[in-house]
């Protein structure tokens, strides 16, 4: 025993004590160190007695048994459709690959054009209502579609959701109204991240959920801090955004606690992550929506009763509706003129960064095919130089056709506001104004 460290000696003593159950009897074999060991053995004997009394479990552990077997049964059920899921997944993966390919090509085109890089950089700081904001959203969509792994998709989606939070913060700081679409888009990003996590591998999912939980919580805290500073008009949007983040945090935490339940809930609810159509930006549709999703979304986006529906069925009714819309537009014009002036002032400040003072060249041949959402977002002074060969420039040409009075017109940019006016209405209105000016 000589030379043995006290730690080891104590352990041997404890083994003897467990056999004999008597401290003094045990210490007889360790007389040299007895004085040092005695107090420790006394405590150890007390501990052994303390630990022996364990009450019976209140539920006789039956609930745990049932829970385990239920979980096993659920897993067995989920294991059954494994092959059908794979079969179902394959064509969608092809579609996803095609979408990514298109996005990549678009990104290359945008990247290599002369203004692409500069605009992208300038758009980075833009806010809802700025002329470059749609560019920023489009670039985000492209980047999301180019992300190949669930991890990178989740990170990007969370990054863009955080960007929406920063936009809310900046708009509130400038005492500007926060559009509902910012909150809606934030929700879409978070939803996308959750969906990606639900389809990730079992090894990857906990890490992704932890990231979602952590970052949405940070966002919720940031928004919480804004409550005291934000003006009344933005309180609703702020609360909605905070609720979105808080719920996402809670769902991610729940997912960490029971991954299988989380996975099955999201997979049943949302389908494949690739199926999620990117959220519609506040001012214009992202470029990647021009391919697949437009076809399915087109009819649905045009609610029944709009002039488009009326033309086919009842032409007179359609014209009446057009007139009503024109009247509404005029009323909204007056209401929103002051708002647009304020926005134009802010835009002129931000324009120092974006070099957007250049005027758009007008082209009377182009058709007004782009949605009026896009047109109305453009402020009077900020115009991007257009090129008739490029699609994006074509849309700008269309915008530039509208006279300045129409540009100041109704702001129907929010997704939830009145249905889009028929192009013909806009054409008529434009012709009328031009005639009046000529006279």
């Amino acid at each position: 025993m000589k030379g043995q460290p006290l730690d080891h000696l104590l352990d041997r003593c404890l083994q003897d004590l467990a056999r004999t159950g008597d401290v003094e009897a045990t210490l007889r074999s360790y007389r040299r160190e007895a004085d040092r060991l005695r107090p420790l053995l006394t405590i150890a004997a007390t501990m052994s007695n303390y630990y022996t009394s364990v009450p019976d479990p209140p539920g006789s552990l039956a609930a745990g048994r049932k829970r385990l077997l239920d979980a096993a049964a659920r897993q067995q059920e989920q294991a059954q459709p494994a092959i059908p899921i794979l079969r179902k997944r394959r064509p969608k993966m092809k579609f996803a690959f095609a979408a990514k390919l298109i996005s990549t090509i678009l990104a290359i085109v945008v990247g290599t054009t002369a203004i692409g890089g500069g605009v992208a950089l300038a758009a980075d700081d833009s806010l809802p209502g700025d002329s470059l904001y749609p560019v920023k959203l489009t670039i985000e969509d492209i980047r999301l579609n180019m992300a190949l792994t669930p991890g990178s998709q989740v990170d990007l989606a969370l990054q863009f959701a955080e960007e929406r939070t920063q936009e809310i913060k900046r708009l509130a700081g400038q005492e500007q109204p926060v559009p509902d679409e910012v909150v809606a888009r934030m929700e879409q990003h978070i939803q996308r991240a959750m969906n990606q996590a639900a389809w990730a591998s079992e090894e990857e999912m906990p890490g992704l959920l932890e990231r979602i939980a952590q970052r949405t919580q940070t966002q919720a805290q940031t928004l919480e801090q804004l409550h005291t500073r934000v003006q009344v008009q933005n309180q609703t949007q702020l609360q909605a955004a905070q609720q979105v983040c808080q719920q996402a945090h809670e769902q991610a935490m729940a997912g960490l606690a029971s991954p299988q339940a989380f996975r099955s809930r999201y997979q049943q609810r949302d389908g494949m992550p690739e199926e999620i159509t990117p959220p519609e930006p506040p001012t214009r549709e992202p470029q990647n929506n021009q391919g697949g999703s437009q076809g399915t979304g087109g009819p649905d986006q045009n609610p029944a009763g709009t002039p488009q529906g009326g033309q086919q069925g009842n032409e007179e009714q359609g014209q009446n509706q057009q007139q009503e819309q024109n009247q509404n537009q005029q009323q909204e014009q007056n209401q929103n003129q002051q708002q647009d002036k304020n926005r134009a002032r802010i835009n002129s400040k931000s324009r120092t960064k974006t070099n957007s003072r250049s005027r758009t060249r007008t082209n009377n041949k182009s058709k007004t095919r782009t949605s009026s959402k896009n047109r109305n977002r453009i402020s009077n002074r900020s115009r991007i130089k257009t090129n008739s060969k490029s699609k994006t420039r074509a849309s700008n040409k269309n915008r530039s056709k509208i006279s300045s009075r129409i540009r100041k017109g109704p702001r129907v940019s929010t997704l939830q506001t009145s249905p889009l006016p028929h192009p013909k209405v806009v054409e008529d209105q434009r012709a009328e104004i031009i005639d009046r000016e000529r006279k």
Partner: protein, 178 residues
């Protein structure tokens, strides 16, 4: 051992009978350990249930254990205890009171009379998580230092030292309340 391996193999494919046998065999042990750590029968039972659900998820994803299956269950249980105290740090509400403090001379006699459960529980609550774990495994579960070392992912020497420090710290706390 062979039968346990066979049971685990069947458990991996969610064989309910095998899972039931494993549960019946190990749930009481895990419950006892958890009770010794959280001092609440209901919480211990809930956590026991969670241990086995996690075990099922882990064996599904081929996460193998490096120690014995029992040791692996103790590890899961320990992690749940840590999570539990992280969420509910008020477990130390049983603060040491004046009654708990005893003079050096009285200490041995006081121990001989068996300190009340509540007093000792409060004193144990002041130890570190590792120290509490080593005491629960060594004196509660009566596991040898070698197996405790495997469960805790430490060397045998480290466990012996930890055990020594835990007992010395407990004595100090009971003696002076430091």
């Amino acid at each position: 051992v062979t039968s346990e391996r066979a049971l685990l193999k069947r458990a991996r494919i969610c064989d309910e009978e095998a899972l039931g046998i494993l549960y019946d065999q190990y749930a009481p042990l895990i419950y006892s350990y958890l009770y010794r750590r959280v001092h609440d029968a209901q919480i211990a039972e809930d956590l026991t249930s969670e241990v086995f659900v996690r075990m099922l998820q882990a064996i599904q994803s081929q996460k193998l254990w490096h120690t014995s299956f029992r040791g692996w269950l103790y590890r899961i249980a320990h992690n749940l205890v840590v999570d539990h105290y992280r969420k509910q740090p008020a477990a130390l509400a049983l603060a040491l009171d004046e009654e708990l403090m005893a003079d050096e001379e009285d200490l041995d006699s006081a121990l001989a009379e068996q300190l009340s459960r509540q007093r000792l529980q409060a004193a144990i609550g002041l130890l570190t998580s590792d120290q509490q774990q080593v005491l629960a495994l060594r004196f509660g579960e009566q596991l040898p230092a070698r197996e405790v070392a495997e469960i805790m992912g430490k060397s045998v020497g480290a466990v012996e030292a930890l055990q020594h420090r835990a007992l010395a710290a407990l004595r100090r706390i009971l003696q002076k309340g430091r």
